[in-house]
């Protein structure tokens, strides 16, 4: 079937010269109705997709109730978007006090500015952008959100939640897991046996256990090893867990890039008198990381999806706060609407990232050809 459709018996020129309807007919014949089996298969696929659309579209659009004060106001059989509208501010800010919400808003704005600076290729100063994301933004975010300085009231971290918390976890995880991952990857290839074995042990350990058990370790096991009376913040523990867990995966990705580099690069760097760190920082890592952009983005997407697991630690990220919202007696039975919104947000972020990675790769390929 595959072979038959791929090998065309019609010369290309004839296709190019044919009129538009004829071209469409030809395309239909080759790609949809190549044989009676193909025609049947196409029909089945179209029917399945149609059935799915027929279930979801009326529910989400035609029969939906757009504004409601409680679940009772909503028509049965349709989505109850009033639930999402009523809980929207909670989904975005968690339990952050309404009067202080300009602070998370500022953080969102800074984050968007930083990401734009970092991700749009035409804007110069990527080194400063990285510095901004890794040093300035975390400090500013913490000071702004937590408060306690310059007359800002303190908002403890158990009040942070929703999309705000998901983004804090994801962005801090992403910004720090790549540099740590690169360090572990270098350590794994180090000539010092102790460093090498420590890095191998750490990486294989993290890759061998589920992320949930790392969170359990951070929350229930770690406090035993800290000075008594010291109560670490669950959010800080979760962030640390995400960074180190994902750094192990990043390390393996970066190692792939390091192994793909020809030895001549190391030798050339040595020949012009570069030491170890300068060789790595200016010659090796930039090339190695460029080679593994798809792997880095895949790890980033899995990190983003993994942030939902913090619910086992009792943090209210986007997914968990939606689950909590469903438990509200006014809105019982609104799971589908809530999950739909969570899914949409995660899908847009993940799909956006993978599209961005493809664009970057395309840019690299063009640059290499030029």
């Amino acid at each position: 079937m595959t072979e038959a459709a791929l090998i065309s018996d019609t010369p290309r020129r004839a296709t190019a010269m044919a009129s538009a309807p004829a071209r469409i007919a030809l395309w239909l014949r080759r790609r949809i109705f190549a044989s009676w089996r193909d025609a049947l298969l196409s029909l089945v696929v179209v029917l399945i997709l149609g059935a799915i659309a027929w279930t979801i579209l009326p529910w989400a659009l035609f029969k939906a109730t757009w504004s409601a004060a409680s679940r009772a106001d909503c028509a049965p059989g349709g989505a109850c978007w009033g639930f999402v509208a009523a809980k929207a501010s909670q989904f975005i800010y968690g339990f952050y006090p309404p009067l202080e919400r300009w602070r998370p808003d500022t953080v969102f704005a800074l984050l968007i500015a930083g990401l734009t600076w970092l991700m749009v290729p035409r804007i110069p100063g990527k080194g400063y952008a990285g510095l901004f994301m890794m040093v300035v933004l975390p400090v500013v975010t913490f000071v702004l959100l937590h408060g306690g300085v310059a007359g800002l009231p303190v908002v403890p971290s158990d009040k942070w939640g929703g999309l705000l918390l998901t983004l804090i976890l994801a962005v801090s995880g992403i910004s720090f897991s790549l540099p740590f991952g690169a360090l572990f990857a270098l350590g794994r290839r180090s000539r010092m046996p102790l460093v090498r074995w420590l890095c191998i042990g750490f990486i294989e350990f993290c890759r061998g256990v589920p992320f949930i058990t790392v969170l359990f370790m951070a929350i229930v096991m770690l406090p035993f090893f800290l000075p008594s009376g010291m109560k670490p913040d669950p959010l800080a523990l979760a962030v640390a867990g995400i960074i180190f867990y994902e750094a192990a995966y990043m390390a393996e990705v970066v190692r792939g890039g390091l192994q793909a580099l020809p030895k001549g690069q190391y030798e050339a760097a040595m020949a012009i008198g570069f030491g170890y760190w300068r060789t790595m920082l200016y010659i090796i890592l930039p090339q190695a990381i460029r080679k593994v952009v798809p792997g880095i983005v895949n790890t980033t997407i899995s990190l983003l999806k993994n942030t939902t697991l913090v619910m086992v630690v009792g943090l209210f990220d986007l997914l968990n706060i939606v689950s909590a919202g469903v438990a509200d007696p006014l809105w019982v039975g609104s799971q589908a609407e809530g999950y739909f919104v969570v899914g949409l947000v995660f899908w847009l972020m993940s799909f956006g990232l993978s599209c961005y990675s493809r664009a970057i790769e395309g840019g690299f390929a063009r640059a290499d050809r030029a």
């Binding site: 079937m1 790609r31 010092m192 350990f205 256990v209 949930i212 939902t308 993940s350």
Partner: protein, 373 residues
């Protein structure tokens, strides 16, 4: 220089370990706890809704540990089977010349893999399964299988000697595989056409039947039957397990589909053309040229994906399926307070399986590497 750094590292690590262990003893003393595995022999005292090995609430924590491991392995194995079937279908469909089929497979992959696995699980548990009818009006498939919001009910094989049955089936599977392997290798060595399927299948079916007949074991099929508000008899898959299997199979199939697609695309076009030039048909090209080369590319990442399924099964805790994390790391820590031992044991189980599979992948890579002459 390097030695100085490593010596400093040793000192630093030793210092951290010293401080941490000191803290540990202080904390344990403050809470009146001590380290050790004696708690494993204490009575657990709680019920577990679903277990493969016999369990009652008067069993000890070691039993809870075993129940957790078997439940984790069960959901992992079932999810692996279904996600592999679905994933191969999706992967091959993506390469189809049929536009509708390849587009649909592409859409599936792009939607499914960009959503968190936890969301998949919650949607199946809280939305999809709840939409199924109650047991009294369950969807029946030929009076044997019933789908309802209390779970899936399947016919079950019951026997007075279940151990013997399991061993007989295991031996039959191994014997059938060995026979199949030796017959195909005989066919390849001699060039003679040998039908390897029929004898292998015969061994697979006849051996257990023979074992049952010779030992006089009682075997019967128990069908699920509606009694009151629920089904009795048969094999009941609790809703948690059903939702978990659906969600994990669908989620991981998207990744397996991508791996299958990439591995088939990795076989260079020249190979197919050479096969065509030799007069190979579609099936022979696939069987002797494409699949052997694609498998070499596919198996290492596929085994990694299987490990991801094992690790992902720990999300079961979110919907209350009693897997290792849910029942041992969750409930048992709350009851005994033995966080260090229990988290350590849980991690050791996952780590041991991962390292074992990792070693097998390395062995496979070593065995199938291309030997250039």
């Amino acid at each position: 220089m390097g030695w100085v750094f490593q010596a400093l590292l040793v000192v630093a690590l030793a210092w951290v370990a010293h401080v941490a262990i000191g803290n540990l003893y202080d904390n344990l003393a403050a809470r009146g706890l001590k380290l050790g595995f004696d708690f494993l022999w204490q009575e657990a005292g709680f019920e577990i809704a679903f277990h493969l090995v016999p369990y009652t609430s008067s069993d000890n924590y070691w039993r809870v540990f075993l129940v957790g491991i078997t439940n984790t392995l069960l959901v992992t194995a079932v999810a692996i089977v279904f996600s592999t079937i679905l994933g191969f279908t999706i992967g091959i469909a993506q390469l189809s010349g049929n536009w509708a089929v390849s587009r649909a497979a592409r859409i599936y992959v792009e939607i499914v893999r960009n959503l968190p696995q936890l969301l998949h699980i919650l949607i199946w548990y809280n939305v999809a399964l709840r939409a199924l009818p109650a047991p009294r009006v369950a969807i029946g498939v030929g009076d044997m299988v019933y789908l309802s919001n209390r779970g899936v009910f399947l016919p079950a094989l019951t026997s007075d000697r279940p151990g013997l049955l399991v061993i007989a089936i295991l031996i039959a599977v191994i014997a059938a595989l060995a026979l199949f392997r030796s017959l195909t290798s005989y066919a390849e060595r001699t060039g003679r056409a040998v039908n390897a399927w029929l004898p292998s299948l015969a061994v697979l079916v006849l051996l257990p039947v023979l074992a049952v007949a010779l030992t006089g074991t009682q075997v019967s099929v128990s069908l699920p039957q509606l009694k009151g508000f629920n089904f009795i008899g048969g094999w009941a898959l609790v809703p948690e397990l059903t939702a978990l299997v659906f969600a994990m199979a669908i989620y991981n199939a998207a990744f397996i589909g991508e791996l299958v697609r990439a591995s088939i695309e990795a076989v260079s076009k020249g190979q197919r053309e050479a096969a065509a030039a030799l007069g190979f048909g579609w099936w022979w090209t696939l069987r002797f040229i494409v699949i052997p080369q694609a498998v070499r590319v596919l198996l290492p990442p596929l085994s990694n994906q299987y490990l991801n399924i094992l690790k992902g099964s720990s999300l079961a805790v979110a919907i209350g399926y009693p897997d290792l994390v849910g029942v041992f790391t969750g409930i048992s820590i709350n009851q005994t307070g033995r966080a260090i031992e229990i988290v350590g044991m849980t991690m050791a189980v996952y780590l041991a399986i991962s390292l074992l599979i990792g070693a097998l992948i390395n062995l496979f890579n070593h065995m199938t590497r291309i030997v250039e002459r």
